[in-house]
């Protein structure tokens, strides 16, 4: 079919399917999305799926089985542009929290025992860029609707949006929230990438870091600031581990290095 529309595929690897669901949750825009492009594959929404050449592939979820490695490589071969959507595809997600392979093996055994899987072998959970080249990352657990629609409309016009190199605090200030850190509540806002609209602090709940670590943050300054305010740096680091996936290692290195 050549109707001048971009061919798009939406794929789900291991995760909670929240990013694909968020696309379905764009109720008011959904029919327009389906009309603006030619959706070749979107398993959650359609049973009429094809495996041909693609202009853009949106991939959600982390790579956690051998089958997914093959599937992902096939997607890369077929697609001009691959976009990682969501925290799992971008950094491995919560299931990439065990960064040490031995620890992962041990925990895997605790859950599944010695039974040998016949359908596909497990692999330690990793972001998709561990196996293929990724052209753009849209973080978030789950992705934010505004960021997704921004990305989608730009992509349809043949460009990709700039990334969002700012922490949650920026939006939180716009929203005129009282700073939770000033109240002694351990909030991860200054260390976490923005995109959620500072939703948790808006509700008087501290940021849990679900967009992953912010790029280019002044971690030295953050380190001293948090320490000065009397926060326990170890528990902050532990809390950052929950949603940083494989990026945690880089984050901790920087945090440690700059805090010397």
């Amino acid at each position: 079919m050549n109707n001048g529309k971009l061919k798009i595929g939406i794929y789900e690897l291991t995760g909670c399917a929240g990013d694909a669901l968020l696309i379905l949750d764009c109720e008011k825009e959904l029919l327009d999305i389906f009309k603006a492009v030619d959706i070749q594959s979107f398993l959650m929404a359609s049973s009429d799926n094809r495996d041909g050449k693609l202009d853009i592939a949106l991939v959600e979820g982390s790579v956690s089985t051998e089958r997914e490695i093959e599937e992902l490589k096939d997607i890369r071969e077929r697609a001009e542009i691959v976009i990682a959507i969501g925290l799992c595809a971008s950094v491995g997600g919560i299931q990439a929290r065990f960064t040490d392979p031995n620890e992962w093996k041990k925990k895997y055994k605790e859950v599944y025992g010695d039974i040998e899987m016949t359908h596909t072998k497990p692999v330690q959970s990793k972001p998709i860029d561990a196996y293929i080249k990724v052209d753009y990352y849209l973080p978030g657990c789950p992705i934010g609707k505004e960021q997704f629609l921004d990305l989608f409309t730009r992509a349809v016009k043949g460009t990709l949006p700039e990334r969002y190199p700012r922490p949650v605090c920026v939006t939180c200030k716009y929203n005129e929230n009282d700073c939770l850190l000033n109240k002694g509540i351990p909030c991860l806002g200054p260390l976490t990438a923005d995109g959620c609209g500072s939703i948790c602090p808006n509700h008087n709940v501290p940021c849990f870091g679900c967009w992953g670590p912010v790029e280019g943050a002044n971690l030295t300054s953050e380190y001293y600031l948090l320490k000065e305010k009397g926060f326990d740096i170890e528990s902050i680091k532990k809390r950052m581990a929950n949603y940083s996936g494989t990026k945690l290692i880089d984050f901790l290195k920087q945090f440690k290095k700059e805090s010397k």
């Binding site: 929404a45 359609s46 065990f98 359908h119 789950p142 929950n242």
Partner: protein
């Protein structure tokens, strides 16, 4: 051998498939596989603070994220001995209504209805059913709105916290929700009429056990402190393992559950079967109008049950808003001092009973057990697909198997991210029984049992094999008569697999060998009767799911002492195979 498979189950949430293998005239294997990788959530949360766990556990599933939130909160609050304010309790129920309507409207209109109306997806359906699709979108949007107002955002909202809420919705927001819910009622009634009158096929139909939460006070509802079974049995929340008994299978990263060795079902259909009499108002009237005994036995009625529940929610939402508005003050989240404790939280997620169990030691999570609805339904999904596949094969409709299996799986609304793309049908090549026997021998220690009757010609073949195996020095070999009499199976565990040898009439060429799970024989209409005494005599029920029948097609089972040449040949083949 022929295999029918749907590799990528479309229009289900997650990544899984279903396959059926056909060996001649019987369906010899059905597998509901979940390709979704292992996530080890129960291990990831060990060592976290209770607050961090409450943030992280709902990430198991985006669609049921608020059910997970409610379950983990109930579990933690039980463990930490917290009693929340009634306003928080009511707001959590309202939030749950949002998720229930969101999930059910997505599933009924967008994932299931295209099957019945013959479209690949809801968008394609929209060209002919524009109004339905648009209003259903509005309904889903409204449900999402409720979730957003209460939990903070559509998916993975963090506003519900241990002890209550971060912030409460305003009076205006609540009144908007109430009024909007009332406006939807005419469309809600149409939804029930539509989904209760769809032409649901009568294959598969079979009894099962239904399990759900007991909401208490003779109310319908989506949580409770007890589990209620369709058998009438009840368990207190901390005794949930009496129902679930989780185990692992080699074709799925989603664990499985059985009750007393039997598959059971959870979900909207289970709730309506167990609690439907408790519906009041319009929903009660519609329940009385549409509910009938087919709902007891046919999993496809899940969609009809979901429609009734949508109606229940729309009637309950205005009541809830009125009750919430009675409390003008917003209560602060209840503080807790406990550092250690154990708790269980039971919630009805849209797809069924969801259980969270947590233990806290010195302020950190030390043990987590989470049992999701799809993990409990997986065994029944396989069983119903096997029944459907065999029935269709028997009536010469093999071409329908794939489509029907997809319909069954979709009806269960599996949230495959709970751990699962979708159906496959294959035929086995001749001699595939050898591979199956090898697989059994590789993965467990087999116990061989010769069944049949000595004085009924070919029916003696099972006994003949057992005696010869003993003669060859095989251990763990029994005769059917010894088992019924002396309970020889007592010492065996689930590491053992029972392998029965017997003459089984598959309507095939005499001497054909087929290996089948014992359960398939039990659900097969024409060959089941003979095996029932055996199945009933296996007291150790975990063994029943690890039981296979090596069946030989007999030539004759008339009175007599002679085994026919073709069956004798089959006996020799089996013995030769086992000896090597």
């Amino acid at each position: 051998m022929k295999k029918i498979s749907v590799d990528h189950l479309a229009r289900v949430e997650g990544n899984g498939g279903i396959s059926a293998t056909i060996d001649g005239k019987v369906v010899s294997d059905v597998k509901f596989s979940i390709y979704e990788g292992p996530r080890l959530i129960e291990k990831l949360t060990i060592g976290l603070t209770p607050e961090e766990d409450v943030s992280m556990s709902p990430r198991i599933c985006a669609i049921c994220s608020l059910s997970h939130k409610n379950a983990v909160l109930r579990s933690m609050e039980n463990a930490l001995n917290i009693k929340i304010h009634p306003k928080s309790y009511l707001c959590r129920e309202l939030m749950h209504m949002g998720e229930m309507v969101e999930s059910h409207s997505l599933h009924t209109y967008y994932l299931s209805l295209p099957d019945y109306l013959g479209y690949p997806n809801a968008i394609a359906m929209a060209s002919d059913f524009e109004l339905e699709v648009k209003i259903a979108l509005e309904m889903k949007h409204f449900a999402n709105h409720i979730m957003k107002v209460l939990s903070g955002r559509y998916i993975h909202g963090e506003n519900p916290i241990i002890g209550g809420f971060g912030t409460f919705p305003s009076r205006d927001e609540l009144i908007f929700i109430k009024n909007r819910a009332i406006q939807f009622m005419p469309f809600v009634k149409k939804t029930v009429d539509l989904f209760c009158t769809l032409d649901y096929p009568d294959v598969p139909e079979k009894e099962t056990i239904y399990a759900c939460c007991e909401p208490g006070n003779s109310n319908y509802g989506f949580w409770g402190d007890e589990i209620l079974l369709s058998t009438g049995e009840k368990f207190f929340r901390d005794d949930y393992q009496k129902l679930t008994n989780e185990f692992v299978v080699s074709h799925s990263y989603c664990k499985r559950s059985r009750y007393k060795g039997k598959p059971y079902s959870v979900g909207a259909l289970a709730r309506v079967n167990n609690l439907g009499e408790r519906f009041k108002g319009e929903t009660g009237k519609m329940y009385k109008k549409y509910f009938n005994k087919r709902w007891h036995v046919n999993p496809l009625f899940h969609n009809a049950a979901q429609a009734l529940e949508i109606s229940y929610c729309f009637e309950r939402i205005p009541e809830l808003v009125d009750e919430i508005l009675k409390y003008e003050e917003d209560p602060k989240a209840v503080k807790y001092t406990a550092k250690s404790g154990k708790g269980t939280g039971l919630v009805e997620a849209p797809r069924g009973l969801l259980i969270h169990h947590h233990e806290i030691t010195d302020g950190r999570v030390s043990l987590v057990d989470i049992i999701t609805p799809t993990a409990q339904n997986a065994e029944d999904i396989e069983r119903y697909c096997q029944i459907a596949a065999q029935k269709l094969l028997d009536s010469g409709k093999e071409d329908k198997i794939k489509e029907r299996m997809e319909l069954v799986v979709r009806a269960f609304d599996p949230c495959i991210s709970c751990s699962a793309h979708m159906a496959e049908v294959t035929h086995t090549p001749s001699g595939s029984w050898k591979n199956k026997l090898e697989e059994i021998r590789k993965n467990s220690s087999p116990v061989y049992i010769g069944a049949g009757q000595q004085d009924r010609s070919d029916d003696a073949c099972g006994i003949d094999i057992a005696q010869k195996l003993r003669g060859l020095g095989f251990k763990d070999v029994w005769l059917g008569s010894e088992i019924i009499r002396d309970d020889k199976l007592e010492g065996y565990t689930e590491k053992n697999t029972l392998v029965f040898f017997d003459a089984v009439d598959f309507n095939e060429k005499a001497g054909k060998i087929t290996v089948l799970p014992l359960e398939y024989i039990l659900t097969h209409s024409s060959i089941s009767h003979k095996f029932v005494p055996f199945a009933a005599s296996i007291k150790n029920l975990s063994l029943q799911k690890n039981a296979y029948v090596v069946g030989i097609q007999p030539d004759s089972v008339a009175r007599g002492n002679k085994i026919s040449p073709s069956v004798q040949k089959a006996v020799r083949e089996i013995l030769n195979h086992l000896r090597n």
